[in-house]
């Protein structure tokens, strides 16, 4: 049990160290680490992401608490959440104490100039991967020929995606509730 708790802490510590630019930048890291360790399947992880996006508070805390709790109960939730908090906490205190001009440092600027576009590409790739798996039931891009055409998932995609293009910056909760409702109607009732 102790080993599992340490593993949760270390995994989320790593995720905390490499997350630049808000909650969505964390999703590729979480997907990578958590699925590779067999803690979640892609589907259950996406379910957690939906819940973490629809509850108050920082996404990072929500998702680490959720996965930690699911693995090892409340203690697991504490270790995972602490893991994601500690890197930020330590780095910010060092900056606040000795390095106030951190954001102007040329190496920091250089690192971010390179890391930011690559993170955009990574998030985009995860988004496409999630789309392929939720709409066409493709587990990996290399298995693209095994795609399944289901008019129901395609209809949900078209409605929700269309709406986000008509009105930008729609609240994530609204998207989650709407797509859940559509899923329930199309799969449960029709």
């Amino acid at each position: 049990m102790l080993i599992k708790l340490l593993e949760l802490f270390v995994t989320f510590f790593k995720i905390g160290v490499f997350t630049f630019g808000g909650g969505y930048a964390m999703i590729p890291l979480i997907t990578d680490e958590v699925i590779a360790k067999g803690w979640q399947t892609k589907d259950t992880l996406i379910d957690f992401i939906a819940i973490a996006e629809s509850t108050p508070g920082p996404f990072a805390i929500n998702i680490s608490t959720f996965i930690g709790y699911e693995q090892q109960g409340i203690i697991g939730a504490m270790f995972a959440t602490l893991g994601v908090i500690v890197p930020s906490f330590v780095i910010i205190i060092i900056i606040a104490k000795v390095f106030n001009k951190f954001a102007d440092n040329k190496y920091v600027i250089g690192f971010l100039n390179g890391a930011k576009p690559i993170i955009v590409g990574v998030i985009f790739s995860v988004g496409i991967d999630f789309l392929l798996s939720s709409v066409f039931k493709i587990k990996e891009i290399t298995l693209i020929r095994e795609m399944i055409f289901d008019w129901k998932t395609i209809v949900i995609f078209l409605i929700v995606f269309g709406l986000t293009k008509v009105k930008e910056r729609m609240h994530p909760i609204f998207i989650v509730v709407l797509s859940g409702l559509l899923g329930y109607i199309l799969f449960g009732i029709i």
């Binding site: 790593k14 905390g16 490499f18 997350t19 630049f20 630019g21 808000g22 909650g23 969505y24 997907t31 590779a36 992401i49 939906a50 973490a52 996006e53 509850t55 108050p56 508070g57 920082p58 996404f59 990072a60 805390i61 929500n62 959720f66 939730a77 994601v84 908090i85 906490f89 910010i92 606040a96 951190f102 954001a103 040329k106 600027i109 250089g110 690192f111 971010l112 100039n113 390179g114 890391a115 930011k116 576009p117 955009v120 590409g121 990574v122 998030i123 985009f124 988004g127 496409i128 991967d129 798996s133 995609f157 995606f161 994530p172 998207i175 709407l178 409702l181 899923g183 799969f187 449960g188």
Partner: protein
């Protein structure tokens, strides 16, 4: 004072939906306007630091403001405050969700929700893309990040290190180039 820091950030954590960026106006309202813990200039500085350091923006700004007001213990109070509401709410939801996740009706809804989440992630990538400085290098890096991950060549952490490394090298080369011109 520790309790005031804790309680203020507890409220910020409780009432912000939609992640760290949604928190920024609240941090301004309490930190700058109401309690004057930080100046307008420091607030801007915090946002710049939060965006250039790893980790959740909420934790970064809570730690920074807490430190400004009451040192490391102030940081701990503010960070605990901003994290605790999420922690409690998620544990309640997780306990509840675990009982229903195998329910057929819940699964129907989640078949739709997974598509919604995928759309949220794609749209987030598009939004972040719009904020980038566009030049040939950023296009190449986006393509590298996209391709490396889509075909599972490298884990995300290494992909980010590759990007940051390329960025630092470019920065150094650019600085050398400017020196030579002088």
């Amino acid at each position: 004072m520790y309790f005031k820091l804790f309680w203020t950030f507890f409220k910020i954590g409780l009432f912000t939906f939609g992640g760290g960026y949604a928190m920024i106006p609240f941090i301004h309202k309490f930190g700058v306007d109401k309690y004057q813990w930080i100046t307008e200039q420091e607030f801007m500085n915090i946002i710049a630091i939060a965006e250039s350091t790893p980790g959740p923006i909420a934790i970064n700004s809570a730690t920074y403001i807490g430190h400004k007001v009451k040192g490391v213990r102030g940081s701990a109070a503010a960070t605990l405050g901003v994290s605790l509401p999420s922690f409690i709410i998620i544990i309640l939801i997780a306990a509840f969700f675990m009982q229903f996740k195998d329910n057929m009706h819940v699964e129907y809804a989640f078949q739709g929700i997974r598509i919604g989440v995928a759309i949220l992630v794609v749209n987030a990538a598009v939004r972040m893309y719009r904020k980038l400085d566009k030049n040939y290098m950023s296009y190449i890096l986006i393509a590298i990040g996209f391709g490396l991950l889509l075909f599972d060549f490298l884990s995300v952490i290494y992909v980010i290190i590759v990007g940051g490394g390329i960025g630092i090298i470019t920065q150094i080369l650019k600085a050398r180039g400017e020196e030579n011109v002088d």
